[in-house]
């Protein structure tokens, strides 16, 4: 299967991790994510093109790839076409903030949008 894999370097490092559901909670959730640097989420490089991270409801890490979709959006997930239900869509990625949303509506409803703030 062919899709473009995006270099994962911008994801590597330690992040404070929090989640929210309503956009009105985004700003304060980002502040709370910064506080969570006391127990950071660490993203390390995977053995091939990806990063070692978790998917929902699984305590094991897996190598996940940053993937460019035909819709122009970027997704993070397994080696499957971008936009797969197990993926997360990258809503925002800057040197300091990463925001991702679960593609699967049920998972999104349960866990909300994830905000990572660089520690």
């Amino acid at each position: 299967m062919s899709f473009k894999v995006v270099p994962p370097e911008p994801l590597l490092g330690k992040w404070g991790l929090a989640s929210y559901r309503d956009e009105k909670d985004r700003a304060r959730t980002e502040k709370m994510a910064r506080v969570q640097c006391k127990n950071p989420y660490v993203i390390a490089k995977g053995p091939t093109d990806g990063v070692m991270m978790h998917v929902a409801d699984d305590p094991d890490e897996h190598e996940l790839a940053l993937k460019k979709g035909a819709d122009g959006k970027t997704y993070l997930g397994f080696n499957a076409p971008p936009g797969d239900p197990a993926d997360r869509q990258v809503v925002e990625l800057t040197p300091k903030v990463l925001v991702m949303k679960f593609v699967d509506p049920d998972t999104n409803a349960r866990y909300g949008t994830f905000v990572y703030v660089r520690c």
Binding site: G16, R28, M32, Q36, D57, P59, Y111, G112
Partner: protein
């Protein structure tokens, strides 16, 4: 220093620390339950972040359903009385009546008794998973802003300046049980009802079973 002297100093220090914590709790109007037997957990389920329980979920049948009861007390209307052993929360209405709600009691809810006031109320409160939960479920966010998948549920009423709360739950099957985590929980529909009837500043009395 000889090892036994070091142990005596440590135990003495620990006793002084426990005494200071006890005095602080007494000053706050609550007291640790001395010599309390460890509570029996009747439903050993951990929190389930991400599980959704909506505002409509209430306990509708059985003794833990919200109901008007005969309740003789000298406490003023608007007072909350929590009986952890029975898993009931009473809202005093006056004229020997109370609204009785079924609650689930977490480990923290068994560890103290006394008198506090509602210091704050929140809708869809935030939740910070404890470190041991993050260890078991490392995919969890370390902070979840309030919402239907949040184990704190639809409402929270904070007790004094303590960390304890009366809150909702996304696990309504735990109502009536002694569970491992949290403090005092109600089904979301019931906690919303209670929330609408209770004011900040309301008196809350927590009663534990008598220790023989």
């Amino acid at each position: 220093m000889r090892p036994d002297e070091a142990a005596i100093k440590r135990s003495g220090g620990a006793r002084r620390f426990a005494l200071r914590c006890g005095l602080l709790l007494v000053m706050l109007g609550v007291a640790p339950v001395r010599g309390a037997a460890p509570e029996i957990i009747t439903m050993d389920v951990g929190d389930e972040p991400g599980r959704v329980s909506t505002e409509e979920v209430r306990i509708e049948d059985g003794p833990f359903a919200r109901q008007l009861v005969f309740f003789r007390t000298a406490e003023a209307p608007g007072t909350l009385i929590i009986s952890t052993n029975d898993r009931f929360l009473y809202l005093v209405l006056g004229a020997n009546r109370a609204l009785r709600y079924g609650i689930g009691v977490g480990r923290e809810g068994f560890q103290w008794s006394g008198l506090v006031k509602i210091s704050r109320k929140a809708e869809w409160p935030d939740w910070t998973p404890p470190p041991e939960m993050i260890e078991r479920q490392p995919y969890l966010p370390r902070f979840m802003a309030g919402g239907p998948g949040n184990p704190m549920g639809a409402r929270a009423m904070y007790l004094g300046s303590t960390v304890y709360r009366i809150h909702g739950t996304n696990q309504p099957e735990t109502i009536g049980e002694a569970v491992s985590s949290g403090c005092f929980r109600l089904a979301n529909g019931d906690v919303i009802d209670l929330f609408s009837r209770v004011d900040v500043g309301a008196k809350v009395i927590i009663r534990q079973a008598a220790q023989l």
